[in-house]
Symmetry: C3
């Protein structure tokens, strides 16, 4: 482990609302699980709609995952692609181990650029579900990254959320143990 991070193995699919005890459509922040990243402030995401896209901004001290899940539910967004850039002062990032079929989560406690943020929002068992990967930039310009479990923004995070016309639900793929997008057509 080269990244100077604490490593805690496990925590599969932690961007799912079901990783909190109460996977309701509008989870109460107070019910966030013991492993949740603790924000400084209650989130008040800034956003603006343009066509089928939303421009979204998070402020310093805001977490990313929980407010975004709530906002997706409140805006009834059943599918969206996500792209963005910004910076965090801490983050949790995972690697999916093909042998154990488990995510290995790394808590990163340092100021880092979010150099790329690529993902999507779908529905898992009726509730918003996030799948996001990030590259994070360190002071020497080196880059680390992987599956994004969450983080605390500092000073800024800017996203484009491009909504689809229909919701996309995920179903459990027994072969890999992951929830995968259920799409209508096959080539």
């Amino acid at each position: 482990m080269e990244v100077g991070a604490r490593v805690d193995i496990g925590d599969p699919q932690p961007t799912s609302p079901s990783s909190t005890p109460s996977p309701t459509r509008l989870p109460n922040r107070a019910r966030a699980g013991a492993n949740a990243i603790t924000p400084d402030i209650f989130s008040l995401m800034h956003y603006q709609r343009t066509g089928d896209r939303y421009i979204v901004r998070f402020e310093s001290g805001e977490p990313v995952v929980e407010p975004l899940l709530e906002w997706l539910a409140a805006n009834k967004i059943g599918y969206a692609s996500l792209t963005g850039l910004g910076a965090v002062r801490e983050a949790k990032v995972s690697y999916w181990n093909g042998e154990t079929r488990q995510y290995e989560a790394h808590a990163l406690d340092e100021q880092m650029e979010i150099v790329s943020f690529v993902g999507n929002a779908t529905l898992k068992e009726g509730a918003p579900f996030l799948h996001i990967h990030v590259t994070l930039g360190r002071r020497d310009l080196s880059i680390i990254g992987g599956h994004f479990n969450g983080g605390v923004v500092h000073p800024n995070l800017e996203l484009i959320v491009a909504q689809g016309k229909e919701a996309v639900a995920r179903g459990l793929d027994e072969a890999c143990g992951l929830w995968v997008m259920q799409l209508h057509e096959r080539s």
Copy 2:
């Protein structure tokens, strides 16, 4: 070479269909070239259209390039931007050497996150052509990447394919030896 990969120099522009012996619009998978990555299974990409975009998913064991080229041809997509995330268990990634004007291809044989997948689909001599760059995440969260020549998905790859209204053709730029997009306007 820090990445523990086998290195085989050469293989310029290998994401083009013309790198296989028969660059037809719907190449027969059985005719794939000797350097092609061998998939476990015949590809059955999952997809769904939403507006001018397609949501696309590849399953474990599927290659990326050949099925995507076939699907682009079958859906008569003459231009699209591509963005995505997922994971591969092997990949071929290249660096373009400005002195030799050749791609240097690296075969990477390990389970890696696709942390970013950014590219486009155009037409080269009438057939679909892919230009894709990837960052790949390793178990220690370190990132490697470059020009994507192909890979075998495991367990999942999710793309957004945003189709343009008109096809974009590529033409050979003699100065750099690459096929570049022919666009109508200049600033």
Copy 3:
């Protein structure tokens, strides 16, 4: 600093037109500041509109930031998201230091893939403003990156510029010293 780059600390928000002495809407290239990257040629960006998006291509020897700012002004684009891939033969990339609240700029003088290019175009004091992050790929496939201050394309850079229906202005956030997007709604 592992990247073999010259380091010059400072240069906050250098992708802003105001980092040149004359932040007019259509800055004269001859007035570019002393720290500007010097292109080989006057820029003649290639582009083509498709729906609400522009496909844009830069040629070898072209800088990225100044021509893009001029083109945004000429096309009256008050908001757009930017995504792309390509390669540069030199670039300037920064890390935002949370303690000093300053960008630390690194001049990188080598041929590198632009593996991801994610950003947006907004307005700052009425003039186009760019916020872009890049991952850059080196010959050994290692990746460096961060906040993109500019670079010289070689041999090619391909962008998708997705225009919004309304302009988005930036305002100074006193707390972090950065200009942040002013969006109409809050969750």
